[in-house]
Symmetry: C2
């Protein structure tokens, strides 16, 4: 069971980072979840709850009395229920464990380590204000980054499985698309295949799949429109499935020939090959220890040197339970990314590689692959798109 | 469109509460959502984003450039996209509007007004530290409570519709249940009816529906088990559907006669009638202006005076887009509820009424109804369970 595997891993990480106790403090997780609950609990809670893991290996859940059974059913915590307030149980636990460092989930940089709401932070610091523990709170971002990032063998298998399902659907798309079909029709075809396979979309169905055809298309993160595929269009699709709680996130590019066109126009082929080869170049430098921005920079520079404008986003993000799985990013040093571009890549992380460029008059060329970081490099988990898919 | 209706309502609430500007500041909402986005946006965002509403009626969204189209597709904001950082656009907007009071989403009391993560709070206060605005941040809890609580006519229609679908499924359950069936089988039957109707569960499917039969059952918020219905059992189900983004949350109680039993045992009937009548008594005092704890106290005292133990939760919560829709609660003055029991009930709020008691040797009797607060009282939106459903 993955939750138990990750709980054991968490104990090891607390030792590695010299943190005595890590606390996830959350309430009404169905409305305001802490993003770590999926990995360390696998269900939700209603009243203020503390999920505490210690470097000595204790796992304690302090929860509202009516949540006790559900928590016990889901994960191996010592569970204690309260009726009136969590305050006393929480203070008793801290006094017993007497931690020097208490990691809680706040982070300027990593949304996955930032599940503690500001109101809950205020409540927690109120509880602690007469104790020695108020000054011992630290960000859990290192722990969270490592726990989400370093995939176990079971997690890798699930991601591979989601990739496989996604690529199968892309193959079916190739047989379906032709000039005259709209973006919405293509998206609808993909959704039907998802339903057929009993799978869910990897992210918000409004733009999963995202389908963009031609030079006037809306660009990333928008939903499909009634725009029709026309001869001469580049079409790209951004899509992934969720299977057994793990996701894929992949992109492929198609070209629709004009009547009588004997070969793909040079600028289209150049755009496609530039994207394809920028991924290969970036993969060559992706290895443990490299800072994420350097990997981004390799692909970005390759595209700019080929004469195209660079892309308005990062080269890649981590993938796991979420399509955007948080922490270390392969991205430029833009302020919106905080400190993430400076984090060092680690073995066991799974990244997308997804540069993008525009071919004037035709549309957008993108490819998104998924790789796992190995001991001394990286390995493609997706079968890379080597050739532009041309529909005659 | 409900989002536009709620955005207009929000402008009126800013005037009512003398707040110049309300800002929802959020990133990666698919992993760490602000619970207000469903009402004021209807979609998500990726990079740090600010959704700003002013008392003068401006609605401005500052978002990452790749999110611009999707935001425009969903709600009537002036949308401005950035590439590197939101900081400058945010400061420019504040300087232009020059608000005396800036409401942001943090709250000790109300999870629905507590969507600002502590990390995002730190980022925001960093941005503001050289400006006059850092001292002008206030909690949005009054605005959020009124915006979620005061339902529009369109919202009420949707809730009624969800109630209607839920009660229809309960009727089908009555024809299905009999001794020998397990809790899981009953839950499976309900899930099949949901799928048939193309509807979703109102909350986490692990315990929606929740099915409890007999004296040994697990209690609220646990999932169904392999426990079999036996003659002499009280069975209760907690369940609701989500339809058009709005939910119902209802409970009903069944009794399974013992062989040869000519009438329901006195203690069972007394338990059922006590629950039924405690709801009627509480409804009599539920009206605008009353503090929530007083309504809870009426039902709780009624049950205790009848000789039963009181319930370990509040009498009722608000219902809307979420089964637990936040803010004002009909609950006792326990610390876990913060200031919520002291909030005054308002016209247009929709509450559950859901007391519970245990009949020794038989199981749990619960009924959960849904009412809307009117000008001078309240009105049942669900057709109340008047009779114990007896299965012979």
């Amino acid at each position: 069971m993955i939750v138990e595997e990750k709980l054991s891993q968490a104990v090891g990480l607390l030792k590695e980072f010299h943190v005595d106790l890590w606390m996830t403090f959350v309430r009404e997780s169905s409305s305001n979840p802490d993003p770590m609950l999926d990995l360390i609990l696998g269900t939700g809670c209603t009243w203020p709850s503390a999920f505490v893991i210690t470097s000595k290996g204790r796992k304690v859940a302090l929860v509202g009395s009516l949540d006790v059974q559900n928590i016990k059913d889901h994960a191996g915590y010592e569970v204690k229920g309260y009726r009136d307030s969590i305050r006393q149980d929480l203070l008793d636990l801290l006094r017993k464990e007497d931690p020097e460092k208490i990691a809680v989930n706040f982070s300027r940089n990593d949304v996955m380590a930032d599940g503690l709401s500001h109101g809950m932070y205020m409540i927690l610091t109120d509880y602690l204000k007469e104790t020695p523990y108020s000054g011992r709170l630290v960000s859990s971002e290192e722990i969270v980054a490592a726990l989400r990032g370093r995939k176990t063998a079971a997690e890798l298998e699930r991601i591979k499985d989601a990739i496989c399902e996604t690529l199968e659907i892309f193959d079916k798309v190739t047989a379906f698309v032709r000039p005259g079909r709209t973006e919405k029709e293509v998206a609808g075809f993909i959704k039907d295949r998802l339903a057929e396979a009993g799978l869910e979309a990897a992210w918000d169905e409004v733009h999963c799949p995202a389908v963009f055809t031609g030079p006037e298309s809306a660009g990333a993160h928008a939903g499909p429109t009634d725009r029709k595929i026309e001869p001469g269009h580049l079409m790209n699709i951004d899509f992934g499935v969720r299977k057994n709680d793990y996701v894929a996130d992949l992109q492929r590019t198609w070209y629709f020939s004009r009547p009588g066109e004997r070969r793909v126009p040079d600028e289209v082929m150049k755009g496609f090959l530039t994207i394809r080869d920028s991924i290969k170049e970036a993969a060559k430098v992706l290895r443990p220890g490299v800072e994420g921005w350097k990997v981004d920079d390799v692909a970005r520079s390759f595209i700019v040197e080929a004469g195209f404008k660079d892309y308005d986003h990062g080269l890649g993000h981590q993938v796991g339970r979420k399509a955007h799985d948080g922490s270390g990013l392969l991205c430029p040093k833009w302020e919106r990314y905080g400190q993430l571009p400076f984090l060092k890549v680690e073995q066991g992380q799974v990244y997308t590689l997804e540069p993008r460029l525009t071919v004037a008059g035709h549309g957008i060329a993108t490819i998104e692959e998924i790789v796992v970081v190995t001991e001394d490099g990286c390995e493609f988990l997706s079968t890379p798109q080597e050739e532009l898919i041309v529909i005659n």
